[in-house]
């Protein structure tokens, strides 16, 4: 694998995706009345085009790129503060937010996400963090529910 650059690895992944896509295109049922173009044609064209492009990408020597490794500054940080870890934690936080939004409610879930992530990213002025997070969440909530009449879940807060 050492000799394979990022382009080659990505091209193999894309080729596998395109094969799966083409297979699924062949599973699309035919319309009972004959038509010049059925629902499966466009997906088949897209699938085969992607397969051809993935092969071209495998041999493409221009625009070879590798994802940046952790910075020197990042290497000195504790593992939970490293840039890659920040992306992972943020993703987990978004997933948790999605699960808790309806039961907990928009205001509490959003306040926790906004305040919590800013704290995790390294912002240490807790009062400013809380006031600004609370302000943004409340203003958004009021604009959405009162001005734009868009429903947002109340959750455990009754109003």
């Amino acid at each position: 694998m050492k000799s394979m650059n990022a382009n080659k690895i990505i091209s193999v992944i894309i080729a596998l995706i395109s094969i799966a896509y083409i297979w699924m295109a062949y599973q699309i049922p035919q319309f009972p009345i004959p038509r010049p173009v059925d629902s499966d044609l466009f997906p088949k064209v897209l699938g085969f085009s992607l397969l051809i492009l993935s092969i071209l990408l495998f041999f493409d020597k221009t625009g070879i790129s590798d994802a940046p490794a952790e910075t020197v500054e990042g290497d000195r940080l504790p593992w939970y503060r490293r840039p890659t870890m920040k992306v992972v934690v943020t993703s987990v936080a978004i997933a948790a937010y999605a699960l808790l939004l309806v039961p907990v409610g928009f205001v509490l879930a959003s306040l926790s996400l906004c305040f919590g992530l800013a704290l995790y990213y390294g912002y240490r002025n807790h009062l400013v963090n809380f006031v600004s997070s609370f302000g943004v969440v409340i203003v958004l909530y009021l604009i959405m529910t009162r001005v734009m009449e868009v429903y947002l879940p109340k959750g455990i807060i009754p109003y």
Binding site: A6, N7, I10, I14, Y21, I28, F31, R35, P36, V37, D38, S39, F42, P43, L46, S49, L50, L53, D60, G63, S65, A67, P68, E73, P83, T84, K86, V87, T90, S91, I94, A95, Y97, A98, L99, L101, V102, F106, S110, L113, C114, F115, L117, A118, L119, Y121, G122, Y123, V128, S132, S133, V136, V137, L140, M144, M148, E149, V150, Y151, L152
Partner: protein, 496 residues
């Protein structure tokens, strides 16, 4: 004369107090979001769609148009003060804007940018007003074959002009089309790629993809880059220009505005290419061209006039043909479709309120941009001091509200996360996101046009070649895509 009558009608709509308020909000929000490094007009527009969604189409597009040119202008502030362009279209501004700021002339550079943007924007609105109705009359004769060819051209132009690899651009476009055709096929009722998920029957909302690929991916990218510290910015200082300086920049601004407008009309070009063309043209024409890059005022005025003019120009294909020429106008088209308006040649007749209201609002928006920005520049600049951790967590909340507020679907929040990670991977490995978002908007429309054309021709594929307009559009599309390849092969042959 007819255009003037229509423009008066447009002003009646644009001067409605609520619409004036929306222009103000749009320009203000666009300037603020565009100023933040990393967040450009696409992110700004995607973040504002949920707000526009509840309005009537004319007001919604007036708001979005304000966000668009506000974001283009806002990008210049971070280019000048931080040398960190918020938007690709303002990269050229930083070449001379930042050296001016380092010399203590940041205020002058920002004032120059404001004046140039105002003039560029105004000239482009004049162009839009004159050219759009003419193009609409031509486009009225277009059938499905011509539309299919036009969309192919729009897509290939964006792919071929993306600064990254051509193959990667094409892969991104194919992915976009794959996402766009998910759900129930409206012509046959057949399910495609729904994976037996009820949430996918209507396909994937474009707002989910737009916010994921641009706003959320940008947050991830900033986290990965480790840029949590706020950059030190230059002090703004005096905003005054001398009479001599005004004289010096008058012609470069006019020339670059006209050039920028026509660049914006072309599919695939737009603000970035327009600003670079404006900059290099003035560098060549100027007697003191050798001082470009060291803080020459013409080096700020030319790209700023060109990028704002290109922004107005990009509305020509969007409003008259219904085919966006860039990722940014693709978002605008998506927003219009969400609001129930299909842009195209019939829009002038069917929705003159939207068409002329937006054009008239652009005049007002440009005045707002100038009036708002000149006195408020020093205060706006303070936004750049907002701590990065607070900023990032707030952008996340905006993304969540945007997606949930429009779809009320928790499933879409997971999709948003997925597209955010895909967008991050695309950025890291050099796949351009603009072709993907454009293909997402155009994919389903392209398929529909192709099928309608084939139904009319009884399944004869030659229909795309037999019609002259469609044939020429396809030839240009083919050349735009394969020209770099031909050049490469030609050079290799000559080299050996």
């Amino acid at each position: 004369m007819e255009s003037l009558t229509n423009l008066v009608y447009g002003f009646q709509i644009a001067l409605d107090p609520m619409n004036i308020f929306y222009v103000f909000i749009g320009v203000f929000a666009g300037t603020v979001i565009g100023m933040l490094p990393g967040l450009g007009p696409i992110s700004a527009l995607a973040l504002m769609i949920p707000m526009a969604f509840t309005m009537d189409p004319a007001s919604g597009l007036i708001l979005m148009a304000g966000v668009y040119y506000g974001a283009i202008f806002g990008g210049s502030t971070s280019s000048i003060l931080l040398n960190a362009p918020g938007v690709a279209g303002t990269v050229a501004t930083s070449f001379d804007g930042y050296p001016m700021a380092k010399k203590g002339l940041a205020g002058k550079a920002l004032a120059l940018a404001a004046y140039a943007s105002f003039i560029g924007g105004t000239i482009s609105v004049l162009g839009l007003m004159l050219i759009a109705p003419l193009l609409s009359q031509v486009a009225i004769s277009f059938g499905p074959a011509e539309y299919f060819a036009l969309m192919v051209l729009g897509l290939t132009a964006v792919v071929s002009l993306s600064d990254k690899s051509l193959i990667k651009g094409m892969i991104a476009a194919i992915f976009g089309m794959m996402v766009s055709i998910m759900g129930i096929d409206l012509q046959t009722g057949t399910e495609r790629y729904t994976f037996n998920h009820i949430e996918l029957l209507d396909g994937i909302d474009f707002i989910v993809v737009a916010l994921g690929l641009f706003a959320l991916a940008e947050v991830f990218y900033m986290l990965l880059r480790g840029g949590s510290k706020t950059q030190k910015r230059n002090i703004v200082g005096s905003l005054k220009l001398s009479r001599q300086e005004v004289k010096e920049i008058a012609m470069p601004i006019t020339r670059s505005s006209i050039l920028g407008f026509f660049t914006g009309v072309l599919p695939g070009a737009g603000a970035t290419i327009g600003s670079f063309l404006g900059y290099s043209m003035e560098k060549r024409l100027a007697r003191d061209g050798d001082t470009f890059g060291q803080g020459n005022i013409k080096g700020v005025a030319a790209p700023e006039a060109a990028n704002n003019a290109a922004c107005g120009g990009s509305f020509v294909p969007l409003l008259t043909l219904g085919v966006p020429g860039s990722g940014t106008t693709a978002i605008l088209l998506g927003a219009l479709l969400v609001m129930g308006v299909t842009p195209g040649p019939m829009m002038l007749e069917q929705r003159p309120d939207v068409f002329w209201g937006v054009i008239a609002s652009m005049y007002i928006g440009n005045i707002f941009l100038l009036v708002l920005n000149l006195p408020l520049i020093p205060y706006f600049a303070r936004l750049l001091d907002v701590p990065r951790p607070l900023l990032l967590s707030m952008i996340l909340i905006f993304c969540m509200v945007g997606v949930y507020g429009m779809s009320f679907s928790v499933f879409n929040l997971f999709l948003l996360l997925g597209f955010g990670l895909i967008g991050l991977a695309m950025r890291l490995y050099g796949f351009p996101a603009a072709p993907m978002i454009l293909a997402l908007i155009l994919g389903a429309l392209m398929e529909e046009s192709m099928r309608r054309a084939l139904q009319i021709s009884g399944g004869d594929w030659w229909v795309f070649i037999q019609k002259p307009i469609s044939m020429w559009l396809l030839i240009i599309a083919f050349l735009s895509l394969f020209m770099p390849l031909f050049k490469f092969v030609y050079r290799r042959i000559r080299g050996f």
